[in-house]
Symmetry: C2
Subunit: 529 residues, 2 copies
């Protein structure tokens, strides 16, 4: 399963795949003199709204791109995207019990122009807008004004997406408002944060769809205990974001509850109240609304037939080329802006939990590679970290860099004739060129083989609007790849076995059951420490 040559039966029947397999034997050579020329760079770029994608440094040519678009057509990628946004039940696997749900995270922000008119989408976007208005009113309330800090207790999608967006928007902070995140069941995580905040001025938002996530419940109890110890009534400080009628939809325990629906998966939930409460509190409701607007704009783009400008689909196809035809097992996202420092961690979750699957939608083992490992750290820092590997290692990663033209704060200085922002951009472009073209040298240690693919996603500035667009761009890129592979990107059965076994070991710690092998031996190793 590690290295694959053949594609799926359905794929195999496809003329596009056969052509792509042929082309992959001799992919476009970026190291040839003049190969990375102005015509190529100008042709291989797409701009729509706030985003521009430059992909001249991917190893594609017209023939490959034509076949990739042919593949998209054969696999009905656009039709599936439209079906998803219209509320068809795409979260299912034929013939076996499965979640059998709609997938409507796009409805969480479909309040603006050109709303999806289909019945289920409309019901969902109407409900979402009600929650948005509820949040707006909550934030306006006088009793909300006294709080300076918000702690979000949640894990997975209830943590990584909100954290990534929070970090990206710090520039937009309402005076004296900031956030902390408690996700890990590690009690040190909670202890540390409790040391740092003034509980009197702290709101706590607890996020769990079921109201029963182990980590979240446990951390909530630890934090409630701290409030009680300080003589504070947790009820007035605690909010919940949860499913209607869950154990956490309880006015006796929470000052307010906001609702999330089963058609929004955790990893796609940041534009729902899962991210909304925290982002609205820290940055104001208008800033959150701009995020939604940017995301919604890109949702519509994802349904468009324009090849050059349906950036999420284009990016998905380039990903398929790198993954299934050039056989690169990983995808690095490298933002050249500190604001997006935690975006790779969010995308790691969103992509790997969505597409880290081995069976197709009919329950058959797929004989090709699906979702890659997603990883990354911000540039230019990464250039002093893992770029040695990227340039001269024995393996190759597929890379997407994100660049912004203008800084957020505008605090800058001409040093030796250029600003920091210019130096940052110079490094971004330089790396893409260097990876592509390489360099000959008589000294083998100074030799660069080149032909290492990358692309650049550019935006003018990291604003709430462009951030929303970037988020949605990646969400749909991931969904499109699932559609192309014909896997279910919306469930996560793979996390169940570990959870079940953890429950058994917890019972051993509790003393309600005696440890059997192999648990017994692990507990005994622990004892001996």
């Amino acid at each position: 399963m590690l290295s694959l040559e053949v594609l799926h039966m359905k794929f195999l029947a496809s003329p596009a795949v056969n052509r792509l397999k042929k082309y992959s034997q001799k992919p476009f050579d970026l190291t040839k003199k003049g190969a990375l020329n102005s015509r190529r760079i100008e042709t291989l770029q797409g701009t729509l709204g706030p985003l521009t994608l430059l992909y001249a440094t991917d190893r594609v040519d017209d023939a490959v791109l034509d076949s990739l678009w042919q593949l998209a057509e054969e696999r009905g990628a656009l039709a599936k995207m439209r079906a998803m946004q219209s509320g068809q039940k795409l979260n299912k696997i034929q013939g076996v019990p499965s979640e059998n749900r709609r997938v409507l995270h796009t409805a969480m922000r479909d309040f603006f122009s050109d709303r999806n008119p289909s019945k289920h989408a409309l019901v969902a976007s109407t409900k979402a807008f009600e929650e948005f208005v509820k949040l707006e009113q909550f934030l306006k309330k006088r009793s909300t004004q006294k709080y300076h800090t918000i702690i979000q207790i949640g894990i997975g999608g209830s943590y990584l997406g909100p954290e990534a967006l929070y970090k990206a928007l710090e520039k937009y902070q309402v005076q004296n408002r900031s956030a902390r995140f408690i996700s890990n069941v590690d009690p040190d995580n909670t202890a540390r944060i409790l040391k740092e905040v003034d509980l009197k001025k702290t709101l706590v938002v607890v996020v769990s769809k079921s109201g029963s996530t182990l980590e979240t419940k446990t951390n909530e109890a630890l934090v409630r205990k701290a409030f009680v110890q300080k003589g504070l009534d947790p009820k007035t400080h605690f909010l919940s974001v949860t499913g209607k009628n869950s154990p956490m939809d309880n006015p006796k325990a929470y000052a307010a509850s906001f609702y999330m629906e089963d058609y929004v998966g955790g990893r796609y939930s940041v534009t729902s109240m899962v991210g909304g409460v925290l982002l609205g509190f820290c940055f104001g409701i208008e800033t959150f609304k701009e995020v939604l607007k940017g995301a919604s704009y890109m949702d519509k783009v994802a349904c468009s037939e324009e090849k050059q400008t349906n950036l999420p689909l284009l990016s998905a196809l380039l990903g398929i080329w790198n993954r299934n035809f050039l056989h690169y097992p990983t995808f690095a996202v490298i933002p050249y802006t500190e604001g997006l420092a935690r975006l790779p961690a969010h995308l790691q979750q969103c992509d790997m939990e969505s597409n880290g699957k081995s069976i197709d939608k009919e329950g058959r083992q797929v004989p090709f590679c699906t979702g890659p490992i997603v990883w990354g750290e911000p540039g230019t820092s990464a250039q002093h970290s893992f770029y040695q590997w990227i340039h001269q290692g024995t393996d190759i990663a597929s890379i997407e860099c994100i660049g912004v033209k203008q800084s957020q704060y505008g605090y800058d200085e001409q040093i030796e004739g250029t600003s920091s922002q210019e130096k940052l951009l110079a490094n971004l472009f330089a790396q893409s060129i260097a990876l592509a073209t390489g360099k000959k040298d008589a000294n083998p240690n100074k030799r660069f083989h080149g032909n290492r693919p990358s692309r650049i996603l550019l935006t003018k500035q990291l604003t709430p609007y462009s951030l929303g667009a970037i988020l949605s761009y990646y969400e749909h890129k991931i969904a499109f790849q699932g559609f192309l592979w014909d896997i279910n990107s919306f469930d996560q059965e793979g996390v169940q076995l570990g959870k079940k076994l953890a429950g058994e070991i917890i019972d051993c710690f509790k003393g309600t059951s005696a440890p059997k092998e192999p648990i017994k031996s692990y507990l005994s190793a622990l004892e001996q420490l």
Copy 2:
């Protein structure tokens, strides 16, 4: 180069390699009933000092382990480690110009028992101790007491190692003392931090061996400007860590300078003054000393011939097995403790910059895979992020989890019969077992193939001493893998080409040279935003 079957000429001559190749056709089956039994778990573990390595869930058996140790012997791994610690010039490539330096980061902490007696090691450890004493005196000075915050300006090794250790030791903070890091040339990074700190009470330590790193110089200028704007004299606030006689070794610009030497690579420099100034300031000199003591202890372990307890070498060999024989292209480090949240980023740098190499020490292209991609996030958060992929994706990653028996803060609570710390440990062990054994199920979506390798590094508590040991364990694991592959783990020529091209683009921004293709087209895309 992506998937390789053959090993290097020298490797090829090796009987151990031939045996390992044979064994890799049918690696130990962890899914067989009873395979993961008490005998296996008890046998396949090694304890020394504060660390225990449990590797029963790697796909090895006695025959594989014997051959791996045979390989270590054939490649002279231990002899090279001892040569390194004794100050031989291992940072070189035969026959071509190269750095031609000693590699003596171990001397930075060799102040305790059993000092390395060889000449160059002794000179280096004596010098390092002088710097340590200088730091101790600086921290005692009355004028140092008024500072609350330290900003470290540095990139790569001057950032990631110190940040990882800082995060791990927060529990040990001296009252009111904290640190910030400025690494990226992105001016928003600097702007953000300047908004958050009180410059009057802030020390700035600028770290650059050459005194001329682009990012560091630029950020230093931005921060100096902020001091001047506030009417403060930068000279009294700024410290430098740099090479003796570098442009930054300048008493006119810095209140104090601490020295670093060319035999300590950036990514191995955290126990030198590169980490020392910040860690000493925030946590006190005694805490920093404990880190050094733990690291030095593990340095000695790395030279030992005891197979069961030379944990760095054992771990390196398991890595080679997973990388070169089972062909797993990535290595995930997953700490089950928030304190180590940034350790994966540090190891990503340390490992990928060291071993992301394609030529051997004689300058020949290697026909096998070297350093893997290193990635990871803390568990249990990661379980709600990329574990779906780890359990049910089409690819396999090699994994090392880090577990701690006791929390740092001791703030915990029995919830439903167990503490958070117990829940954390239950999850750690559960994942290792689940990945190994898998689970059959009639529903293909609930099926787990198992045989996904992992191991667990355990310690009693994350203390300065055990943290030092963990750091050194990984440093030597990485060095051992370089020795086994016969590559130079201590240079980084692969970062030069990008740097050179960035310089050319900076000249275009400056206006001192006109942009040629392909730079011109990239700048034009930027213009159009």
